[in-house]
């Protein structure tokens, strides 16, 4: 295995890592960049706990090779809040108490960001389609759907930055 220098933008910040380019993006985020918000769930694209955005599209970071994101932009859960300010999705998940153990939430919020970026008034069916890659074992499905719709309403009425 060969160590390469790979550069990409994470949450608006330029990142430079020296790793084997086949290393999963998730491992690089968590280990090299100390961004531990994205979670390891299965390692085989079957649960969605590791979901991040690459150039705005939801991607399983557990299998995605870091070499393939060179020059691209990556967004993780850490980008959603700054200091005490919460993203409307985080606030809506609190308002709906859409969480039990919370392990799946990082990935679910990421897919929701991508959905609301293109559709701020998704129907129940549209939210379901966006969250279908995600497994939740605690059973917060309905609360998560309501929270995503609520956040969409908030985003739609907020002045764009």
């Amino acid at each position: 295995m060969m160590v390469e220098r790979i550069e990409f933008v994470v949450n608006g910040v330029q990142a430079r890592v020296e790793v084997d380019s086949t290393t999963p993006l998730l491992a690089v985020l968590r280990e090299a960049l100390n961004l531990r918000g994205s979670k390891f769930g299965c390692g085989t694209e079957q649960c969605g706990a590791c979901m991040v955005l690459v150039d705005g599209k939801p991607v399983y970071s557990c299998t995605r090779e870091v070499g393939s994101v060179a020059g691209r932009t990556v967004m993780t859960i850490e980008a959603l809040s700054h200091d005490d300010e919460r993203h409307p999705l985080q606030q809506a998940f609190i308002d709906e108490q859409a969480g039990q153990c919370g392990y799946c939430l990082s990935g679910i919020l990421i897919s929701s960001v991508a959905l609301l970026e293109r559709n701020k008034a998704p129907t129940r069916e549209e939210v379901i389609a966006a969250l279908e890659p995600h497994l939740c074992r605690c059973g917060i499905h309905n609360r998560a759907i309501r929270a995503v719709q609520k956040a969409g309403t908030v985003l739609a009425s907020a002045p764009s930055k």
């Binding site: 969480g99 074992r137 309905n142």
Partner: protein, 707 residues
């Protein structure tokens, strides 16, 4: 209240000082042995403590599951945490408040009736008198036994309990933090452990060169007996090493299992310890029409989304362990015992993990880390499990065969009922039956042989027999329990234990009896219930769903009902499901009514019940562990589908308001009724009863062919 009526947690941890302290001004330190496993317990306990002490919730600093400072409260399981752990805390806080007020009254020369508490400050005749818990703390020693004689607040006076306080742990989790998985100190040594594929398997060959090569970075291999671990400063290196080792290791000997393990005929052919309990009535069996039905459920797994994680550090002869297990005090004892250490040299700290729906691998991961740490002193060792091992090496929830037989009297109701169950035990958590049950300890040389196992005692709700006694007014009920002690799997607790399968069987059977009697199945149930709370829950869910106006509709959908009181002592829960059966079973709508007595946090309870309903639906519709080549063959979510977003319908939940009744455990109450309601809806939609679970297309088709 007399002292021997104190909740168990308080009996075992009798001093007030074991539960609370007033150290930092303005902050109350509450310690609990109950732990957060996704159920919201920390929020509920915070509410109870703040309520009784008359402080605000943000003044509570709750420390949970740290064995050097928290009361030892066994496991956070069985839906006991709010009733027993919370019940203890209520008594302690009420008593502490009374002691402070008595001391203050003494000092001020007034009566306690003149005093009040606000944000922890004391008021005399409505005015702040300059004293508070913290200024008086030195004068009120809490190193005294709780007596349980101080009356707690009346529910009518509650201002915090009964309100839907938002979960205290959620904000951090929504930022991606708050999990044990995210702890990784700078000098952390990552580790992965090679698991034995079946019980007592011997590691014959491990191609260490191939493992080193796969790692791609320097790793160390620690091999002792049938235990092998891979350690490195790089997590991805040990992940790759462990994956290669898993595929390449050769194993022999041990107790392989057959592919048909758990099937009904297999269960009934096993050696068993049998007992017959006349649970209700006795004497001559009455005359009437005999009816009988056989039900079966497969082995299941708990399926946490996050694989287990544990950390440990061994330095200067002292071991620290971080874990997301359900019973830190119990794990403390058994880690010490398995490592031959004294208890005072080991501390266990609970940290939050992914949801535990029963006995998962958290204890195993903690012991893995602890053992490796003792071999590598001075380093913090972090172990994480792979998804594959989570399926293959985790405890399993037992397959069960259930035979119900009844004698139907002239009124169309059962005059005699027998529940007969074949199942291995539902509990092999650490310490149970005197076994450590810590997976790696059995791979090490000189492992303590396993002691004979038994199921959960009836006074703890039973295991396989949980909810085997129907809630209905039966003049006579007999339980025949065939406990299978020799199944070479770590059969253990999954949400509801045997209850959900028993409720599935009982509620399906009751529907069949109602149908035979030509009666509406909900009215039939009501006619056999004398408990007014049970009736009210059923009537409420009937109203919510419009049950009596519904008949099978043209689109092939049908409604079914399921009802139970968890363990026959915890919360009452009735569920109505509307479903269609086409290619597969589709859930269209679910209604639920529950009575949980005094509810600490109504939204938290609804969240728990909805989760239990979805999990119960998933158990019944999809889940089954497969066996092949002597071992568990299920090792991915593809092999073990659970309910997804597109499978979950809208669910309405209503709590029947009974604030003057004691709090009833609620975490597991929805699982059985949800599954049973689905079974009954499917039977109505198909016109055929499906008695073998799960209700997959294959199982339904094969049972339709036999019908």
């Amino acid at each position: 209240m007399i002292s021997n009526a104190l909740p168990l947690s308080l009996v075992n941890n009798p001093l007030l000082s074991q539960w609370l302290a007033f150290e930092r001004p303005g902050v109350v330190r509450i310690t609990t042995g109950k732990v957060e496993i996704g159920q919201g317990i920390l929020t509920a306990l915070t509410q109870i403590a703040a309520e009784e002490l008359d402080v605000e919730v943000e003044q509570i600093h709750l420390v949970s599951g740290e064995t050097d400072s928290c009361p030892a409260e066994g496991f956070s399981s069985g839906s006991y945490s709010v009733s027993v752990g919370g019940g203890s805390l209520r008594i302690v806080c009420a008593e502490a408040r009374a002691l402070f007020l008595a001391a203050l009254a003494d000092r001020l020369g007034c009566t306690t009736a003149d005093l009040a508490v606000e944000r922890g400050r004391f008021l005399h005749a409505g005015q702040d008198c300059g004293h508070d818990y913290w200024s008086m703390a030195a004068n009120v020693p809490l190193e005294r036994r709780a007596l349980g004689t101080t009356p707690a607040k009346r529910p009518a006076d509650y201002r915090i309990v009964g309100r839907s306080l938002p979960r205290v742990d959620l904000p951090a989790k929504l930022r991606g933090g708050g999990f044990i998985h995210d702890m990784a100190p700078a000098d952390c040594l990552h580790a992965r452990v090679l698991r034995q594929p079946w019980r007592d398997a011997e590691l014959v060959e491990l191609d260490e060169a191939a493992v080193h090569k796969a790692a791609g970075a320097p790793i160390d291999i620690l091999r002792i007996g049938n235990f092998a671990a891979f350690t490195s400063a790089s997590e991805i290196a040990v992940m790759r090493a462990a994956e290669t080792a898993r595929l390449k290791a050769r194993w022999a000997a041990g107790q392989q299992v057959s592919d048909n393990i758990g099937e009904a005929a297999w269960l009934k052919a096993q050696p068993s310890r049998d007992r017959t309990v006349e649970t209700r009535g006795s004497g001559q069996v009455t005359a009437g029409t005999p009816v009988k039905a056989d039900f079966w459920r497969p082995f299941l797994t708990y399926g946490s989304i996050g694989p287990s994680c544990g950390l440990a550090e061994f330095a200067d002869g002292k071991l620290k362990v971080w874990t997301h297990c359900q019973g830190p005090a119990v794990l403390h004892e058994w880690i010490a015992s398995a490592l031959g250490m004294t208890l005072s040299d080991v501390i266990v700290f609970h940290r939050q993990g992914a949801g535990a729906y029963g006995h998962n691998t958290a204890d195993d991961a903690a012991f893995d880390a602890a053992f490796i740490a003792t071999r590598l002193p001075g380093r913090t060792v972090r172990v994480m499990w792979s998804r594959e091992d989570e399926f293959e090496a985790a405890p399993v929830s037992p397959a069960m065969a259930i035979e119900l037989s009844a004698v139907i009297g002239p009124d169309g109701r059962p005059s005699d009922w027998t529940t007969e169950i074949w199942s291995p035990p539902h509990a092999q958590r650490p310490g149970m039956n005197g076994n450590s049950n810590l997976l790696a300890s059995y791979a090490l040389p000189g492992a303590v042989p396993r002691k004979p196992i038994d199921d959960v005692a009836e006074d703890r709700g039973g295991g396989a027999t949980r909810n085997a006694l129907p809630i209905y007014d039966l003049p006579r009920h007999r339980l025949i329990h065939h406990m299978l002690p020799d199944v070479p799997l770590r059969t253990s607790s999954l949400r509801g234990l045997g209850a959900w399968a028993n409720v599935y069987a009982i509620e399906c059977f009751v529907d069949e009896l109602a149908e035979a009697a030509g009666e509406d199945s909900l009215s039939y149930r009501l006619s056999m219930l004398s408990d007014p709370r049970a009736k009210r829950v059923l009537e409420t869910v009937a109203d919510m769903s419009g049950w009596f106006d519904k008949r099978n509709s043209d689109d092939g959908s049908a409604c079914g009902i399921g009802f139970a009181r968890y363990k026959n002592i915890a919360a009452y829960c009735a569920v109505i499901v509307e479903a269609t059966v086409e290619e597969t079973v589709r859930l269209k709508r679910i209604w639920c009514a529950a009575d949980a007595g005094l509810v600490i946090n109504p939204d938290g309870v609804r969240n728990q019940i909805e989760g239990a309903i979805i999990q119960g639906a998933s158990f019944v519709l999809r889940e089954s562990v497969r066996f092949e080549n002597g071992r568990v063959a299920t090792n991915s979510w593809q092999d073990y589908p659970i309910l997804r977003f597109s499978d979950v319908p809208v669910i309405d939940i209503q709590l029947v308001d009974t604030p003057n009744e004691p709090t009833l455990g609620v975490g597991e109450c929805g699982v059985g009724p949800a599954g049973a309601a689905i079974g009954n809806a499917v039977a109505r939609a198909l016109g055929v009863r499906i008695r073998k679970l799960p209700l997959t297309r294959e199982n339904i088709t094969s049972q339709l062919e036999q019908a």
